[in-house]
Symmetry: C2
Subunit: 259 residues, 2 copies
């Protein structure tokens, strides 16, 4: 990971030794005397930002493929059209994040590639068996992923932070999912109960993915700077877990389902 | 079909009897005396335009799904990114055509739905067995489909004609296909020979699809007005076939493959 992060932001000062130096000085701020130390910390900061932005871009890229697949399987043409538009928007969001990675001196494609398989496990464990299950999977899966990205992004430089917050402020897919799932659940309490169960499986798997992501050194450092719930750095994982769970409960209650 | 076309453009004057009146007056122009005749001809013209625009929109919608699938299967991330961008652009083009259908008083979703399965046969008969075959399928398939749409669009009202011509003027997918296939063919003459054969199968199937489309009454009437190769109306199918074949030969020669 450390050397990967170095590759993603090939700046003059971003050497493995600089990376190690800062890895030792974990925690918030990492204010050390001497120009070399500041430069090294800055380089690590940039490499970490590229890592986190690579994750955001990868999630958008995979959301594109998923929504395009959903569009092809949608039961109605109106839904297929709406989902294809959401998919198209994912490519725009992804490309804006890739442009920011390039601005920071990183390699956009390498940064994206690092997270190319990030959802493979999640997908293998959660194969939907109906259109409603598919919609709920996207609703819960994107919900957790977006919430996590929003949390981590708080630890980025101002420009990247604003960009991520702005991009993730598009609730159009969630609105479609809520509208359709709400209609389904209102008609059939058995389906509703099964979907509630499915939602619990989905959120468990999704939290597993993001908590593993949170342990990647680059992501963890940005997360520490993010002041999640203003807890001490060593409690960050628990705080992230609590915050994501709370958001998930809110999301399920929009469907009148118990989380 | 005739009553379908009526449904797509529910204007006051677009009654089944108006449709029949103009069906009888086939050929170019259909100049008949009396206001009722002109109104009826206009209504048929609009219904036919909606039919043709529905075809263009449906092809873009299906190109979106296809390119998104290609993006997911692309051997490299650079290609995956490029293909996802092409897919996104298909949704924009489709939506511009749907907007034009609405402007003409048609029902965009109904117009699109009429051609929802237009490529199913083509797909069933042409399953690619490699990435190169997949690329060539899109290159040949879109090539023939776009050429056909361009031909038919010449028979539309000025605004629709300009719109279709403008939308289909995006050669970015063709350029990617040519670049990649050219590289593959340059390295391996056996692969090159197999791809030439595959290209011939593809164009045969694609021409079959468009010639069936050309026989739909609404499409046929627009095609007659299109003055294809300035031949008499009854020779239109042969002229369309010749023009599409000539374009295909040009397209294959860009790959240095024999059509």
């Amino acid at each position: 990971m450390t050397s990967d992060a170095g590759n993603a932001a090939p700046e003059p000062s971003d050497t493995p030794s600089a990376e190690r130096a800062s890895n030792g000085a974990a925690g918030k701020g990492a204010d050390r005397p001497g120009d070399a130390g500041v430069d090294a910390a800055e380089a690590v900061g940039t490499a970490d930002a590229v890592e986190v932005l690579g994750l955001v871009a990868a999630l958008e890229h995979q959301a594109f493929a998923r929504l395009a697949g959903d569009s092809a399987q949608a039961p109605g043409l109106e839904q297929a059209l709406a989902l294809s538009r959401f998919a198209a928007r994912c490519t725009e969001r992804r490309d804006r994040v890739l442009a920011r990675i390039a601005e920071l001196g990183g390699d956009p494609v390498a940064a994206l590639a690092r997270f190319g398989t990030v959802l493979d496990d999640f997908d293998a464990r959660t194969t939907p068996s109906s259109w409603s299950e598919r919609l709920l999977k996207a609703y819960v899966g994107y919900g957790v992923a977006d919430d996590f990205c929003r949390l981590v992004a708080r630890g980025l430089d101002a420009q990247s932070r604003v960009l991520v917050a702005e991009l993730l402020d598009d609730a159009s897919h969630a609105e479609l999912a809520v509208r359709e799932l709400d209609a389904v659940c209102a008609q059939d309490s058995v389906v509703s109960a099964r979907l509630a169960l499915w939602g619990r499986r989905l959120v468990g798997e999704a939290l597993g993915v993001v908590l593993r992501l949170a342990q990647r050194p680059g992501v963890a450092r940005v997360l520490d700077r993010a002041d999640v719930g203003s807890a001490p750095a060593q409690e960050t994982p628990a705080t992230v877990f609590n915050e994501l769970t709370a958001q998930h409960t809110r999301r399920m209650s929009r469907l009148r389902l118990t989380a």
